[in-house]
């Protein structure tokens, strides 16, 4: 399990994506099944990797580092892809979900490689098993809630983004049947519009709750080794993203007489911007930064065993 590297599942997903593309071009169910197999293999490898990382950091992957957090997001996207592909396949509709989802998965894994693997300073305090008190437990609990809400909220944004892309592709195919490969079977416009609507409706409250728990987390982290500031670029950026979501949702709920394609295009823009901002902030600022004076102290990842050993020596 310890020998699994990011490259293992990244390569599996690349092969799965290539096979899915070939399956569409050649209308081959064998290639599609093969692609599905590679995606499952990648998911298994990724699961082992995340478990291994989690054990080493003594924190759930959602809390340990931005690197792991992004990989959890990618992992959820693959689970969603495989589940939906299986359901659609069983119902006789061979929608190539992976063709749309796997590029995002690869993007997330790629981004995870660019961000640091170090545990967030604030969360490092919560891993201190020797001195863990009520405050650390609260920090860990709120941190988990915050990260979970955000990961599912952003998962919803990704799904909404992809359903909108599928809507635009399907719309284009229906307007000009020769413009899209005939092997590309997509759900109907009505289904895609409905799924898009639900992804917006569900992701917004999740992101809002994620924001609120984040504020609580900032408050709780003030006495830790690495307090998070309201001026943290990720906090500021997330706030702006949330405001963008508010604007988009209010436009959507106002119910202006706009066509489904307009909704899809605006979702692509809005959600694309949300994703680009969040990923960009993660990559540029390497997750939540600590106060300058304390950065050096908590920059290196440290296993709980090592920390316990240190505590014992003292």
């Amino acid at each position: 399990m310890a020998n699994v590297h990011v490259f293992c599942f990244f390569a599996s997903y690349v092969v799965a994506l290539a096979l899915e593309g070939l399956a569409v071009a050649r209308r081959s169910s064998t290639l599609r099944a093969l692609g599905f197999g590679f995606a499952v293999a990648g998911l298994l490898a990724q699961t082992f990797y995340l478990i291994s990382r989690s054990n080493a950091a003594d924190l759930p992957p959602l809390l340990s580092s931005s690197h792991d957090w992004l990989l959890v997001l990618a992992w959820l996207a693959v689970v969603f892809d495989l589940t939906l592909s299986s359901v659609l396949s069983l119902s006789g509709r061979g929608t190539p979900m992976g063709l749309f989802l796997l590029p995002v998965v690869l993007l997330l894994i790629g981004a995870s490689d660019l961000v640091g693997e170090a545990t967030s300073p604030a969360m490092s305090a919560a891993t201190d098993v020797v001195r863990r008190g009520a405050e650390e437990r609260a920090l860990r609990g709120w941190g988990m809630l915050h990260a979970s809400l955000l990961v599912f909220g952003i998962g919803g944004v990704i799904v909404g983004f992809l359903f909108s892309v599928m809507y635009v592709v399907q719309h284009r195919r229906l307007k000009d049947p020769r413009s899209v490969p005939s092997g590309l079977k997509l759900p109907s416009l009505a289904t895609l519009a409905r799924l898009n609507w639900w992804s917006v409706i569900l992701s917004f409250p999740l992101l809002t709750l994620g924001m609120l728990t984040g504020i609580r987390l900032v408050y709780l982290s003030r006495n830790t080794q690495g307090p998070i500031s309201f001026s943290d670029p990720l906090v500021v950026g997330s706030g702006l993203v949330w405001l963008l979501m508010v604007a988009f949702l209010s436009w959507l709920l106002r119910g202006d007489h706009v066509g489904g394609k307009q909704v899809a295009l605006r979702t692509i823009w809005a959600f694309g911007l949300v994703l680009a901002t969040l990923l960009g902030l993660q990559v540029l600022f390497n997750g939540h930064t600590s106060a300058p004076a304390q950065r050096g102290a908590a920059a290196q990842p440290e296993s709980s065993a090592a920390r316990m050993e240190g505590a014992a020596r003292q």
Binding site: R27, K175, S188, K261
Partner: protein, 426 residues
């Protein structure tokens, strides 16, 4: 195995003659099986009769057992009262591997009028079931028809021969309509004109659950006839604009010499539609809807006969591209089927031959060991092995020859020769 098929299909025989040779009802088939059983009691039969083909399969264990090709043709002629002269060269004949391959191709829809169409599999299954009900089947036809079902399933799963729709109405509803709407149960279907194509499209729409059908036709009487047939309502032609705005699906098949709905008219009709998607199937030639109608807004989806035919043609080409792969599967399955059958046929001879020779060896060895009691267990085992190797080497050439011959068909001649050469006491 001796299998043969006498048949006529849409490719070789005009419809008028096929109709005369068809077995149109179960009663007629029952009578046919009674006659076949009475006339050729040693043979198994399956009759496959569809609108595109009439085929009689006959199979017997032994060679030179009736019916012959001519006898089956004579049966068809007499049963249907069609003079032999009228049959001319319409009836085709295949036997042995070619007959097996033919059935496998038929069941895989490689020989169908619409390549890859799914009905033929059910028709073959039904023919086999009726033959069983009439006690016309036996081990050979069981194996043959079960093999045909297996091949058909394999061709369907391993090739794209049945992928994509190939009729204009099915493409319109199945490929495009179902890509716009989730369901048709809550959609208003407007039919303009009462042409034959409208009926075919309505059939597909009804299959998808369409309930509210409105027919607008210049002749209200004709419109009413069509509406009644499909459970809809007929409206006078002057209500067309009103229904153009309300309908979700529009099927147009009038014989008007120029478009009856231009951009201005449709834009005005659609003013109150709230931008909802509308799916227009223009099956008329010349077209009923001006091409510019499609550009009125993003939710107008207009398909004319040319666009639909282009998709049909594309699907047909894709199916045609799969023929070679499907044929390879059929050839492979035919070889495997025949090998299994012939192996079963030669199996008893091979076993008998081995058993006979082993018995001779064992008798001789028993005598030898009785005479030379001083031989220890190792020496006896060594002698036994040597004798066994000699027997195997001697048996190898005739058995190989038998296997080689069995690849081409049941080797009756060789089997008979082996019996006469080696089983002299029987």
């Amino acid at each position: 195995m001796n299998v043969q098929v006498v048949y006529c299909t849409h490719q070789t025989t005009p419809l008028a003659l096929r109709e005369r040779l068809a077995f149109a009802s179960v009663e007629q088939l029952t009578r046919a099986y009674e006659t076949l059983r009475a006339t050729f009691p040693q043979s198994e039969h399956v009759v496959l009769s569809t609108c595109n083909r009439v085929e009689i399969y006959a199979a017997q264990d032994e060679a030179n057992v009736p019916p012959t090709q001519e006898q089956i043709a004579e049966f068809l002629s007499r049963f249907h009262g069609v003079p032999q002269n009228d049959l001319g060269g319409a009836l085709l004949w295949q036997k042995g591997p070619e007959a097996v391959r033919h059935l496998f191709e038929v069941a895989s829809s490689l020989d169908s009028m619409v390549l890859g169409e799914p009905q033929i599999v059910s028709q073959v299954k039904e023919a086999y079931r009726v033959a069983q009900d009439n006690n016309a089947c036996g081990p050979l036809t069981h194996a043959l028809f079960q093999g045909a079902m297996r091949v058909s399933a394999r061709v369907r799963s391993e090739t794209a021969l049945a992928v994509g729709r190939v009729s204009v109405a099915s493409v319109a509803v199945g490929d495009f309509g179902k890509s716009i709407f989730d369901r048709f149960t809550d959609k208003i279907v407007l039919v303009i004109g009462a042409g034959e194509m409208a009926e075919e499209t309505l059939r597909y729409l009804k299959d998808e659950g369409a309930r509210e059908i409105v027919v607008v036709n210049r002749s209200l009487e004709r419109g009413q006839r069509l509406a009644t047939e499909w459970g809809g309502a007929a409206r006078p032609f002057d209500e067309l604009d009103q229904w153009l705005g309300r309908a979700d699906v529009i099927v147009s098949t009038t014989g008007a010499p120029q478009p009856i709905v231009d951009v201005a008219r449709f834009r005005a009709a659609r003013a109150g539609a709230d931008g909802k998607p509308v799916f227009i199937i223009d099956l008329a030639t010349p077209r009923d809807f001006a091409p510019g109608v499609a550009d009125i807004d993003e939710n107008v989806f207009l398909y004319d006969i040319e666009a639909l035919q282009a998709t049909c043609e594309q699907n047909r080409r894709q199916r045609t591209g799969e023929i070679e792969r499907a044929r390879r599967i059929v050839a492979e399955e035919t070889d495997r089927f025949l090998h299994d059958i012939y192996h079963k046929a030669t199996g008893p001879i091979i076993s008998q031959l081995r058993a006979g020779w082993r018995k001779v060896c064992q008798d001789e060895l028993d005598q030898l060991f009785a005479k030379h009691q001083a031989l220890d267990a190792d020496e006896r085992r060594g002698i036994e092995r040597t004798v066994e190797r000699i027997v195997n080497k001697l048996l190898h050439p005739p058995l190989e020859a038998l296997r080689d011959e069995a690849r081409k068909g049941t080797p009756h001649g060789l089997m008979e020769a082996l019996k006469r050469l080696f089983f002299t006491g029987e």
